[in-house]
Symmetry: D2
Subunit: 108 residues, 4 copies
């Protein structure tokens, strides 16, 4: 696995926290639908997989969020990429901080 | 609670993933020692509290990481601040995505 | 000079681009008033100086922006810090890309 | 023009500032070669154009940087996207801060 990415999607025109969360939840639902491993945090959702897959998901998140009703998007993306190697997995990075989180430990 | 912040601390001079994780773990241990609510993600750790406390922690993270051995730091910080109001809590944002994570649901 | 920082201030509740730019301009005016070297870019303003000064400016930017009328702030901050050394100056990094920009070449 | 993006490319395995700058310069040279309007800042390079073009450039920057010799990349990307509208141009955002920068005012 040569890539992991973290995506924060901000619907700039949302007028309430509820509206923001509703649109962000649709973007997260899309990410889940792709089947990649993902981990939702308070400011961004992290995914891991091969580079092309991750880049496609970054692009599609913007389109999904726009379709969900956001007419002005600001997204913040972190790309961690090892062309010839392996990036650290989410489980390796944060498993010890969430020992009882089944999602993180591949039990879901 | 008028502020939440997410901090990614990158020790640029670390030569291995293990070295990176060791220094990052010291920064997270410092964050834990402050007593604020925190949530560790694969690319950043989120904290929440009042604005001044959060800004002090952002600053101290750099000093703690330097003391832990990093001679060149790149940090990426997100600041979510409502001067007169309440920001969304981490639990409100991501609780539904980590239903069995006791840390998140205030059971620790 | 052991620190350089880049700050993006997003007034989340601004309803128009003009309103956003007006508040951002007030934050940039504050940065200018501090006397540190600064460089305005389309998504962030970079400053350079000693660590404490830079951290104070990061904190004050949020307060200045709030005072300028933003009731919900999202800021994105990059911190480049060498506890014992010198960080690359803005001029060293981008001077060659803006050869005729007097501001960058210390002529202002 | 519905999209503008800012890209910071960090070659994590570069051992010196010179090595970092050399690889970053190759990524900027690629961006220049695409023909889109671009603006180089100390922590990121901003581009503007249509959404698909911008997303392709984000992806290719990682590949170009890897080819330039970076075996571990961390990139930080800001995406500003209006599906049905116009984003603010770089010139509109920062022209007044760089009045004598011919590159910014479309004279190059």
């Amino acid at each position: 696995m040569n890539c992991s990415v973290a995506i924060q999607f901000l619907p700039m025109d949302a007028q309430t926290d509820e509206e923001t969360c509703a649109i962000v939840d649709e973007v997260i639902a899309y990410i889940k639908s792709t089947g990649v491993k993902y981990f939702v945090g308070p400011f961004e959702t992290a995914i891991e997989g091969d580079f092309d897959t991750c880049m496609d998901i970054v692009k599609n998140c913007q389109l999904v969020g726009a379709k969900a009703g956001s007419s002005h998007v600001m997204s913040y993306v972190k790309i961690n990429y090892r062309p010839e190697g392996e990036v650290l997995t989410t489980e390796r990075k944060v498993g010890k901080y969430h020992p009882e989180d089944p999602e993180l430990h591949g039990q879901i």
